[in-house]
């Protein structure tokens, strides 16, 4: 460290950045693999396991994550109270009803190796069920992690004029009964 400019340069290099991730229609397990890299700072060229260079990640729309196939019905989350007979299996859809953040949180937690650093890394993850994030969090954000999949467009959420203007190959006959 030679002078005051070098000192400021170092602060600039090791600044913590806040990233935003929109989990809408995203696979939580695939997203977790990406998010954990940002939490640990693995995306930086200066990464070193001993340097404290991890970033914050704010995940919004956790309520609207998507799972593949039968995962909502088949995936079970195990919890044990510690007492005899205290084990419970909760299905993914049940857990998501009780706490919409839990599946995302567990996915990120499991994507990392179980070492002493994991709990501290997890503290840099901020999860929100919907799009509205507290002002003191949103004002820190300066970067966006791109989504892994395109968000599919829903017909009932499309604007009326866009639906009308969409190209059609043929019209249903007037006497056709939609069931």
């Amino acid at each position: 460290m030679r002078n005051i400019f070098e000192r400021v340069k170092q602060w600039n290099t090791l600044t913590r950045i806040w990233h935003l991730y929109d989990a809408k229609w995203q696979d939580p397990f695939d997203s977790a693999k990406v998010i954990q890299k940002y939490l640990k700072g693995l995306h930086k060229p200066i990464y070193h396991p001993l340097a404290d260079c991890g970033d914050h990640v704010v995940v919004i729309n956790c309520k609207e994550i998507a799972m593949r196939g039968d995962e909502w019905r088949k995936r079970a989350y195990f919890h044990h109270t510690g007492y005899a007979g205290g084990g419970t299996y909760t299905l993914a859809w049940e857990l998501h009803d009780k706490n919409p953040l839990m599946i995302m949180k567990k996915a990120v937690y499991r994507s990392m190796k179980g070492n002493l650093q994991r709990r501290y890394t997890m503290e840099r993850l901020h999860l929100y069920a919907e799009e509205n994030v507290p002002q003191d969090i949103i004002e820190n954000i300066s970067s966006v992690i791109p989504q892994l999949r395109d968000v599919p467009m829903r017909l009932d959420r499309m604007p009326e004029d866009q639906v009308k203007g969409y190209p059609k190959i043929w019209d249903l006959p007037k006497d056709y009964v939609v069931r």
Partner: protein, 189 residues
């Protein structure tokens, strides 16, 4: 890297006082060979002193060489360096060749401790001229004024068009062609 290495002294590979650039200062200042005149475990050391020590001292004029006989004790060589470090090497039961090899190693060392964890395998006095990386280098300037959350930044970057987009584009082209075609007919007829 295992965790036991964290307790090790760490540092960068460096030459003391930029040794070897312009001039060379031998770092070994004093060497003491301790041996026994009678016992068998000092045989190689005694042979070295008889046959090679004078040549060694002539080759290294910057080094003071001491020879210290002591009765019935194992032979060793003690090396003192300019940085104040002291290295000991046991010459117990060594042949002449082995002794020569170990003693010739001493003037080549800089005197830094041998159990050093190298933080990097290289060192430079002039770091990058293009500047140190920071999270803000090569960043999209559109992010500076962005209000979050913003959908357009979250979107996956598609390098190729999707099938839906291609069909919509073709349909748009066709619509334009249809709207312009009757006008052309009118002008020609």
């Amino acid at each position: 890297m295992s965790n036991s290495h964290l307790l090790l002294l760490s540092g960068f590979p460096r030459a003391p006082l930029q040794n070897g650039i312009g001039r060379y200062v031998p770092q070994l200042k004093r060497m003491t060979i301790k041996f026994c005149k009678s016992s068998g475990d000092s045989k190689g050391t005694r042979e070295f002193i008889e046959s090679k020590l004078v040549d060694f001292a002539k080759e290294n004029p910057g080094t003071v060489v001491y020879v210290k006989p002591r009765r019935h004790r194992a032979p060793c060589v003690q090396a003192e360096y300019l940085n104040g470090e002291e290295h000991h090497i046991s010459l117990h039961n060594m042949s002449l060749e082995e002794t020569t090899k170990w003693i010739n190693l001493l003037p080549m060392r800089s005197g830094r401790p041998t159990n050093l964890r190298l933080r990097k395998y290289w060192h430079t006095d002039s770091p990058s001229i293009q500047g140190v990386w920071s999270p803000f280098t090569n960043r999209d300037p559109a992010l500076n004024l962005a209000q979050f959350p913003m959908e357009e930044f979250s979107k996956r970057k598609n390098l190729t068009k999707t099938a839906t987009e291609i069909i919509l584009e073709r349909w748009q082209e066709q619509k334009e062609k249809d709207s312009t075609a009757p006008v052309q007919e009118k002008t020609t007829s």
